[in-house]
């Protein structure tokens, strides 16, 4: 299955998942060390981690009984590049501004 970028944006749209990523910026962590930062149930934590896994934002390793999570920072590049999409937003608008001015000065 190919990761689609919308998955990345959807994955970071939840504050709990952003906080999980923040925690992993400092290094790999086992699931317990992640869960202790949240007041939600363990299944809820696992569900959020699953979304991050599916988006390719984290990977999971098993060491015996322990599961450790690691951030995949490259996956956040499209997010860092979001300003480029705002640039396109303005360029599209200014193309419309140009047409607006042509239209309104013709009359």
């Amino acid at each position: 299955m190919m990761h689609t970028e919308p998955g990345v944006f959807g994955a970071i749209s939840h504050p709990a998942r952003r906080r999980m990523l923040d925690l992993l910026v400092d290094g790999d962590r086992p699931v317990n060390a992640i869960a202790e930062n949240f007041e939600m149930s363990r299944p809820a934590v696992s569900q959020h981690l699953r979304v991050l896994l599916d988006a390719g934002l984290v990977t999971e390793q098993r060491h015996g009984r322990e599961r450790r999570y690691r951030l995949v920072p490259e996956r956040l590049e499209p997010v860092r590049d979001w300003i480029a999409h705002y640039e396109r937003f303005w360029d599209d608008n200014f193309a419309r501004l140009r047409r607006h001015l042509e239209k309104s000065t013709e009359q």
Binding site: H3, F9, S13, R18, R62, R88
Partner: protein, 156 residues
């Protein structure tokens, strides 16, 4: 924290007065941007209402603005705030005569890294699906981490 600014220099054959009317009247802004309740006076608070687009699963959104400077026909500046303040930026136009036409110096400033992070969902929605295509293209040949679904550790 460092902030980023979008800058554009635009040239128009029309007069500064015509360009000012296009940038600083509610009717004109509704034509080339979005429905709004703009008024050309400092301190006026207004919104741009970006309409929903069901095909792109976009719910629409409201951009909150306040006029900071209004000096016809040469300078217009307003705030550009989205969500509960996570995107707190400013838009500024400076308008100059340029021969028979007009030069507009545009700046949208105040983009912060953390805004990008927390506002990514908006950035995504804002582009009405255009982003999807761009990103698909961008990631087409890129080396991505191996899909997690292939990771044997994940199989129950």
């Amino acid at each position: 924290m460092t902030t980023k600014t979008i800058r554009r220099e635009l040239k128009f054959p029309q007069s500064p007065a015509a360009v000012w009317r296009a940038l600083a009247t509610s009717e004109a802004l509704a034509d080339w941007m979005y429905p709004n309740d703009f008024e050309p006076r400092v301190g006026h608070r207004f919104t741009f209402r970006v309409p929903p687009d069901p095909r792109a699963k976009f719910d629409g959104l409201t951009v909150h603005c306040e006029v900071l400077r209004c000096a016809p026909p040469s300078e217009l500046e307003f705030t550009w705030v989205v969500g509960d303040g996570w995107l707190d930026t400013r838009v500024r136009y400076r308008i100059e005569a340029d021969g028979d036409g007009t030069r507009v110096l545009f700046e949208h400033s105040g983009f912060k890294e953390d805004q990008a992070f927390h506002g990514a969902e908006f950035g995504w929605k804002m582009m009405h699906g255009k982003l999807a295509k761009t990103l698909e293209k961008a990631s087409g040949g890129a080396a991505l981490p191996s899909p997690v679904s292939d990771n044997p550790a994940l199989k129950a």
